[in-house]
Amino acid sequence: MNEELYKQNIIDHYKNPHHKGRLKDSDLQAIGNNPLCGDKLSVYIKLDKDGKACDVSFDGDGCAISVASASILMDNLLGKHINEMRLITPGDVYDMLGIKVSAGRINCALLAYKALNESFKKLEIKNE
């Protein structure tokens, strides 16, 4: 388990997460929560005039898996068009993490992804 799960890459992202902090003037933002442990993560995305992510960030505390997942997901989102972001699947997130996620840790691995999807929903409601 942990030899597989807690790879150096995961530990590095956990200890020094990329794009950590609150983004001002974001176009997309939402909170994801993990009902099992009470962890909450927010994601913030700023879009340029073409609809591409020009700045991204996440904020909040979590376990190594959720923080690393958020950090790696943010790296991945930068420069992507919103329509492209919408197509990201949970499988893509697992691939980005590069580890085998056990059933008990799915909520952790997908916490930032959940917040990302929530931000799309909020945008739709705003645009309606």
Binding site: M1, N2, K15, C37, A64, I65, S66, R105, C108
Partner: protein
């Protein structure tokens, strides 16, 4: 004196998993062979419904079921008609709240006094009751000092008034294992004729319970945290209170007469046990009590305190370990909550699992309590009669492993 190495042999799961260090009994305990046998014996030898059949095996099932009720009554110094079988603490509390609502005349603005140390299973039904009936939920503040964390009893006494209709406390909480002064709370509640409810899920089978000396009006616990099967528990209520309390779950087996439009009900406890009950579970609970009684619940309590003291001392020696609450200096029901600086409890529990150490990580169904402690989650270790000092040593090794993985 508890000889945990010998007691461990009573538990088939611990025999077949010799490397398992099971430190999650506050979540659910393991089951001894004698309870498994008793439950299996019901299914194999005399499985039938109770109170109904006029044939031998049904009569035997009824006798065993009622004898289990007798065991529970003796176990907490109650009378048999004061014991209602339920599926566990959560149902006991929900059923009780609905029944109180049917029976009493709550007035808008009446107050319910509670503590954040309550488990969600007690707190949430009261939150819902407060919303439905327009009642005010008030929290007794906690007192944090060098002794640990406890309820501020002076403040509790100040807060109770004519407006207070209910006071609900845990006998012990499941995050820190603090034992609360329920007798003092009972006196305070009864001074203003408030109903006093005790959640004994953490203490049943871990320390003696005497409902008479405690003077609680209602008390409940689950069987699965005290060596009995899952899906069985009890609600205790004082005789005269249960007599007047209206049922809130309806069906067969609880009625004395039913016409097209209405029904009249049996007396307590039957009126609170509609439908076919968890017969095997109740019989298993009776056997679990016999098993625990033989070892002595007071002995178990002392032993759990020893384990807690040793583990607390060892954890304190490790740099970066942050302990919450009493941690064994005072009375405790074998629970330790802690975190390791620079790690999240979920990661800790996962790395522990790789070392065969089973603990709980999270908010332990006590989110408001965690909020008061200033954390969202912790690692919780909880002991029972089958845990050895060697289990504690393995816990300490697992903490070192976490520090290695996270390069701390």
């Amino acid at each position: 004196m508890i000889k945990a190495e010998i007691i461990k042999k009573d538990f088939p799961l611990l025999i077949s998993n010799p490397d398992l260090v099971y430190l999650d009994s506050a979540s659910s305990s393991q089951t001894p062979e004698c309870v498994l046998d008793k439950v299996e014996n019901y299914y194999r030898e005399y499985r039938a419904n109770i109170h109904r059949g006029l044939y031998g095996i049904s009569e035997k099932a009824s006798r065993e079921y009622e004898s289990a009720r007798g065991e529970v009554a003796k176990f907490i110094n109650a009378d048999t008609e004061e014991i209602v079988f339920t599926s566990g603490s959560t149902l006991s509390m929900n059923m009780l709240v609905y029944s109180l609502e049917q029976t009493l005349n709550f007035k808008n603005g009446d107050e319910i006094l509670v503590t954040v140390a309550l488990h969600h299973s007690t707190l949430v039904p009261l939150q819902e009751l407060a919303k439905r009936a327009g009642l005010t939920l008030k929290f007794i503040p906690l007192k944090k000092d060098s002794e640990g964390i406890d309820i501020d009893y002076d403040e509790m006494e100040n807060m109770i008034s004519e407006k207070t209709i209910l006071l609900a406390l845990p006998h012990s909480d499941n995050v820190l294992g603090t034992v609360y002064d329920v007798s003092r709370a009972a006196r305070a509640a009864h001074k203003y004729e408030a109903i006093f409810i005790v959640d004994a899920a953490k203490t049943a089978g871990h320390m003696p319970i005497d409902v008479k000396s405690m003077d609680c009006d209602y008390l409940f616990f689950s069987g699965h945290k005290m060596c009995a099967p899952t899906g069985i528990g009890i609600l205790f209520g004082k005789k005269e209170l249960l007599h007047n309390l209206k049922p809130s779950i309806f069906g067969g087996g609880m009625v004395s007469e039913v016409s097209k439009d209405e029904a009249s009900y049996l007396t307590s406890p039957d009126k609170f046990e509609p439908g076919t009950q968890n017969i095997a579970g109740a019989i298993g609970l009776g056997q679990a009590i016999k098993y625990l009684d033989k070892i002595g619940v007071e002995n178990i309590h002392s032993y759990e305190k020893e384990l807690t003291k040793y583990a607390t001392e060892e954890l304190r020696k490790i740099n970066g370990v942050v302990l919450y609450g009493v941690g064994g200096q005072n009375d405790n029901t074998g629970v330790i909550s802690f975190n390791i600086d620079g790690t999240h409890p979920h990661d800790v529990a996962e790395i522990f699992a790789s070392k065969n150490v089973a603990v709980r990580a999270g908010h332990h169904c006590a989110e408001p309590f965690m909020g008061e402690l200033g954390i969202t989650a912790s690692v919780r270790v909880s002991f029972y009669l089958y845990n050895t000092m060697e289990d504690v040593d393995k816990l300490i090794e697992a903490v070192e492993e976490v520090k290695n993985v996270f390069e701390l």
